[in-house]
Assembly symmetry: C2
Homo-oligomer: 599 residues x 2
C-alpha cells in the first residue's frame, strides 16, 4: 500500500515537472527529466506526426518545437501506477490546445525511460459515439421531414457526383473500411473506391483454405468488435461477409467495381484530380486528401523466369490461386516458403496433389499456438480481456514500446518458443528446411515490421514439410521453366502441372508510382520498414515505419495499411490528422521523415 | 466499511442457511428465511419454468418440489451487497445439478423480501463463446478437409430438406432471430421460416417515419450489441438492415419467402408436422419443438364497421400503411390513439395532409425524453453503462422485481413525469384528449405487460394534438363508413380520402388457432397479461406473463416475443429449456400455468 502510494506520487511528480517545463520559457528543459536511454513516442498529440525521438537532445528539440503549439496541460495519472523489475509504469491523460490525450509513462530510477503521448480526440469535433451519438429521429415534427433512409439514399446519390468527398480512399479492404468508419464518426465526407464488386471480395477471392493467422482478439475492427462467438481464426469468407456487413452498418460510402486509373495533385487548388472508372463509366473525383489503402499485399511480385511463356501447365501468382480442387493427383510446384506458400502447399496436399515447395532462403517458423500463448496472449487473448485489457488498452500498451526497444522485449519470448517447439524445429531442419528467427533472433513481429515477409505462422503445414509429405527443395530457386517441368538452380528438374508464385508483394509506394507518377513515388520514398539495417530493411534508422499513417513528402497523400491490429489502431490517428485539416486547425508537422530510399 | 462487511456477512449467512435448508430432509423449511411479504422468482433454474411464487406457503411448496432435482449448491455472494432504504441487495452465483446460475437477493429485517434465481448455462452444454468459441480453422492438416464456406453451404442445403431441425421458429423478426442465435451457440439445429423475403422486411415494410420508441441501450440483440455510434432511436430501415446482417453474421438458417400453412402435433412420434410453402414449393418439416415468434403484432385487429365496403377512398390497417407521401392536401382519418396512430398522424401532417385522430378511449401519454430520463435511465442509458450496468446486468436487475411489486416501484416515477410534463398534459386535456396513467397510475410498462396497448411514447405528435394541428375527436368511434366520409358515434360526419385503422393486434394464441387448431389455441389459452384484473387483463393473478417463453399446455409448443429487451432477455431462458430437452435432461416443470382464459 505504501509502495503503491509512492509509485503514484512519483508518477504525479514526474508529470507535474514535465508539464511545468513544457509550459515554461524553455520547453526543451523538459528533457532533463528523461534518462540517459530514453524515448518519446508521439502519435499526433504534439507533433502532428507519428514520431519517436531518442535521447535527451532529440527530446529537447521536439519539446522546444512542439510545446508552444500543443500547449499541453492537465497531465493526470489514470488508475494506479505499477512497479515491476525496477520500472514504474503508469497511464495518464492530458489536454492539448485542441484535444484530449492519453499516454503511458515508464520511469527507471526516477527518470523517464519511455514516454508515449497520443491524441485521443479533438475537443470541438468529437466522434459521434456514446453520449454524442446521433438521436436517429428528430423529436418534434417538421413539414417535409426526410427519413433516415431518404437521407442516406440522397447522400449516396450525391457523393462523388454532385458533391465531392473531402477524402478519397483507394482500396476497400479492411484498412480502407476501418479508416472510413473512423472518418464517418468525425463527419469527414469520405468515399472508398475498390476494384472488386463487393466489400470483402479481396478476401473471398483468395485461396479457399485461407483463415486469418492472427487470433480474433487481435483482429477487431473499430467500434464494432467481433461478437463473443466469433472463431479464433476467422475463415476468409466469413471475414469477407463481416466486412461487407460492416460497410453497410457503418453507412460507409463505398463504390465497388471502381478502378482508380490515375491521380494528379493540383497544388494551386490544393486538391487531387482522380480519374476512376465506375461500372464502365469514367468519372473525375476531386478530393483534398488521397489515402492509398491498397494494402501491403498490393502489387504482386512476379519473378521473371526464363521459359515461363513456354509452360503448358498452369502458372499463377498466389493472389490468383483459386485453391486445390482441380489438382488432385497432379504435380504442383510452389515457389516461396512464407505464409501463403505453406497454406497453398498444405491445401494442395490435402486435396491429393503431389506438391513441392521451393525454399529460396531461410524462413522463420512459429507455431500459431505458441505465438498465441507466449507472444500475443498477455495483450490479446480471452484471458487478457478478462483481466481488463481490451484491445484498445492492448493497442496502446503495445504502441508504448519504442521500436528500438522492441527486439529486446520480443527476443526472450521467441527463445521460449524455440525451446518449447524444439522438436518441430529439429525435424524441420532434418528435412532440409532452412530456419531462422530473424536477423537478431527477435522473431516474427520484428520481421513483419522490418520487411513484411520471411515467416510462416504454422497452422499445420510444417508437420507435412517435416514428414516429407510436402516435398521440399531448399536453398535453390527456379532457374528455368520448361513446358512440363521446372529446372532448379542446382540443375535438377521437377515435373510440374501447376506452378504457384508465392513470392509476395511489392512496396506500397509502387502504388503511388502506378496511380500517380514515378516522380511522386520517388519523392515520398519507400513505405514500411524501420531502417533496421537488416535484410530488406536498409538503414539509416527511422524510429517509425516509413510513410505509414502520417504526413508524407507529397501534400495530401497518405498511406494506410498493415494487419488488422495496425489498421484498427493507426486509423484512429490518421483520421484525426485528416479531420484537423478538414476543419482548418493549425497542424505544424514536427520531424517530417527524410527520404533515404526512393523505392 | 464496517457496514459493508455486515451487509456482506448477512447475505452470506442467508445464502448459507437457504442452501442448507434446500439440501436437507425438509427443503420446504427454506421458507422460514423469507419474510411475511416475500417472493421467489425463478427463471428455469429450479422450476424448469418461468415462475413467481408469493408468500411462505407457496415458497415452501416450490422448494419442496424442486430442491431434490435442482440440487442447488455453492451459493456465493458476487461483489458487494448494497444497502438502501432498509433493503440489502446482493448478486450471487450458485450451481445446480445440471448448470450454473445467478441470482439477486433482497433482504428486509434479515429475511428475504425478493429472491430471483436464474439458470445461466448448462454445465455439459456450454454456449460456444469466449473461452469455448470455435477455433474457425482446424489446425493440422487432413485430406478432403472442407472449408468454413463449404460446410456452411452444405448445412444450409441440408437443413429442412435431408435433415430436420430440432426446433422450428415461425416468424423471423427480432424475436425469432435472437432466439435462433442463442440456439446456434448451444448447437441446437434450428430453422426460422418467415413470410417476408429478407430478414428485417417486417420493419422495412412499416410506415416510413417509424423509429424505435425505446432507446438503443434497451434494444441490443444477444451477443452482438449495437456499436457506440448507433443512434438513440433506431430508424426502421436501419433496424431492418441490422437484423439482416445479424442473421448472416450469426450464421442462422433462415428461410425467407416461406409461409407456414399448417402445423399438427404427432403425440406418438413426439414431433410436429409443419406444412410450409417456400418460394411456391410445398414442403413438410418435422421439428420436435415449435416456437411461435410471430409477434405481439401478429394478427391485425380489423374492426367490422358498416359501410366499409362502400368507401371510395383508401382504407387500410396501420400494418399496411406505406406512409404519408400520397396524401398531401387530402383528408385523412386515423382510428386509434396509441403509438402507431400518433406516428401516422404526425407523418401525414408533416406531409401536408389534413388529419383527424379518432380517440375511442383514454390513452397514456409519456414524453420519450421523460421516459428515458426518469424510468429507463437508471438501468438503460449511457450513464448506466458508464456506471458498470450493461444491458445484461440491467436485464437481471429488472427481472428481479416481482410483477406484484412492480406497480409500487413504477408509480413514483410516473408521478414525477406527471409533474414534470404537467404543461403538456394540461394542454392535451384542453384539446379534448382523454388521458390516463394506467389503472393504478403505474404508467407505461405495466400497461404494456398487462395489455400490450393503451399508450403513446411521445416523440412530437402530442404537441400537434394539443395545438389542434392534428384534429381530434375523442370519446367516439367510427359508427359507419360512407363513400367519401365517416359518421362518428356522436352522429357527426368527417370527410375522408384515407382511413387508417390503427387498431392494434390480437393475442398471440390467435396464431396457434390459425396455424394449428382452435382446440390447441383454447388448450394453451390467452398469451401475455399478468391477470391484474385491470382493463383487457382479466384475473385471476398469474404472477408471470401468460404462456411466454415457458412450457405451455401443448407439448412442444412455445411462444416467444415481446419488445427487444424482453426478446433478448427471455430468449436466453427459452433457449436453455429447448437445449435441455434436446439432450434429454430431466426437466420436471413446476407450476405449469392454469388456463383461465381460452382466448
Amino acid at each position: 500500500m505504501v509502495e503503491q502510494t509512492d509509485a503514484n506520487g512519483q508518477v504525479r511528480n514526474w508529470l507535474h515537472t514535465f508539464e511545468r517545463a513544457l509550459a515554461g520559457a524553455d520547453p526543451g528543459s523538459a528533457a532533463t527529466v528523461f534518462g540517459d536511454e530514453s524515448y518519446w513516442r508521439d502519435l499526433v498529440a504534439f507533433t502532428w506526426n507519428i514520431k519517436t525521438v531518442e535521447g535527451r537532445a532529440a527530446i529537447a528539440e521536439m519539446a522546444t518545437a512542439t510545446a508552444p503549439v500543443a500547449r499541453a496541460s492537465d497531465f493526470a495519472l489514470e488508475g494506479d501506477a505499477s512497479v515491476a523489475d525496477g520500472v514504474t509504469e503508469a497511464w495518464f491523460s492530458f489536454q492539448t490546445a485542441v484535444g484530449t490525450g492519453r499516454g503511458i509513462l515508464r520511469l527507471r530510477d526516477g527518470r523517464c525511460w519511455t514516454l508515449l503521448t497520443t491524441l485521443s480526440g479533438l475537443r470541438d469535433h468529437p466522434e459521434r459515439i456514446g453520449h454524442a451519438r446521433p438521436k436517429g429521429v428528430e423529436h418534434g415534427v417538421a413539414r417535409d421531414r426526410r427519413t433516415w433512409l431518404e437521407n442516406r439514399e440522397a447522400e449516396q446519390r450525391a457523393l462523388g457526383v454532385t458533391t465531392q468527398p473531402y477524402c478519397l480512399i483507394v482500396g476497400g479492404g479492411q484498412g480502407g473500411i476501418g479508416l472510413a468508419a473512423r472518418l464517418r464518426q468525425l463527419d469527414v465526407p469520405t468515399l472508398i473506391v475498390e476494384k472488386n464488386a463487393r466489400p470483402g471480395d479481396s478476401w473471398r477471392k483468395r485461396y479457399k483454405s485461407l483463415c486469418l493467422h492472427d487470433p480474433v482478439w487481435y483482429d477487431h475492427m473499430p467500434y464494432l468488435p467481433f461478437p463473443d462467438n466469433w472463431p479464433v481464426f476467422t475463415p476468409k469468407d466469413k471475414l469477407g461477409d463481416w466486412l461487407e456487413m460492416y460497410t453497410s452498418v457503418m453507412e460507409l460510402d463505398y463504390w465497388g467495381s471502381t478502378e482508380c486509373r490515375h491521380a494528379r495533385y493540383d497544388a494551386d487548388a490544393g486538391e487531387w484530380e482522380v480519374h476512376v472508372t465506375r461500372d464502365g463509366e469514367d468519372l473525375v473525383l476531386r478530393p483534398r486528401q488521397l489515402v492509398l489503402a491498397t494494402g501491403m499485399s498490393g502489387v504482386p511480385n512476379i519473378p521473371d523466369i526464363p521459359g515461363a511463356e513456354s509452360f503448358e501447365g498452369e502458372l499463377h501468382h498466389s493472389s490468383q490461386h483459386p485453391g486445390p480442387d482441380a489438382w488432385a493427383g497432379k504435380r504442383c510446384v510452389v515457389l516461396g516458403s512464407n505464409n501463403s506458400a505453406h497454406d497453398i502447399c498444405a491445401a494442395l496436399w490435402e486435396a491429393g496433389a503431389e506438391v513441392t515447395m521451393i525454399q529460396r532462403s531461410s524462413t522463420h517458423i512459429v507455431r500459431s499456438e505458441s505465438l498465441m500463448d507466449v507472444v500475443l496472449g498477455p495483450l490479446y487473448s480471452e484471458d487478457a480481456v478478462r483481466n481488463g485489457i481490451d484491445h484498445d488498452a492492448a493497442d496502446l500498451l503495445f504502441a508504448s514500446i519504442p521500436y528500438r526497444v522492441l527486439p529486446t522485449v520480443q527476443k526472450p519470448a521467441f527463445d521460449t518458443i524455440r525451446a518449447r517447439d524444439a522438436d518441430l524445429y529439429r525435424r524441420l531442419a532434418a528435412a532440409g528446411f532452412l530456419l531462422d528467427f530473424g536477423a537478431d533472433d527477435s522473431g516474427l513481429f520484428l520481421k513483419y515490421l522490418r520487411r513484411g515477409s520471411g515467416y510462416y505462422i504454422d497452422v499445420g503445414a510444417s508437420e507435412l514439410v517435416a514428414s516429407g509429405a510436402i516435398g521440399l527443395r531448399s536453398g535453390v530457386t527456379i532457374a528455368r521453366i520448361n513446358p512440363r517441368s521446372v529446372t532448379l538452380s542446382d540443375g535438377s528438374e521437377l515435373p510440374a502441372d501447376l506452378i504457384v508464385y508465392a513470392t509476395g508483394y511489392g512496396s506500397m509506394n509502387g502504388w503511388a508510382a502506378k496511380l500517380i507518377s514515378q516522380d511522386v513515388a520517388d519523392r515520398v520514398g519507400k513505405c514500411w520498414g524501420l531502417g533496421s539495417d537488416t535484410p530488406k530493411d536498409p538503414g539509416p534508422w527511422e524510429g517509425e515505419l516509413r510513410n505509414m499513417w502520417k504526413p508524407t513528402r507529397q501534400p495530401g497523400l497518405w498511406f494506410h495499411g498493415g494487419n488488422l491490429h495496425q489498421s484498427r489502431h493507426y486509423s484512429r490517428f490518421l483520421a484525426l490528422q485528416l479531420k484537423a485539416r478538414q476543419v482548418g486547425l493549425d497542424t505544424p508537422v514536427h520531424g517530417l521523415q527524410e527520404v533515404h530510399h526512393p523505392c
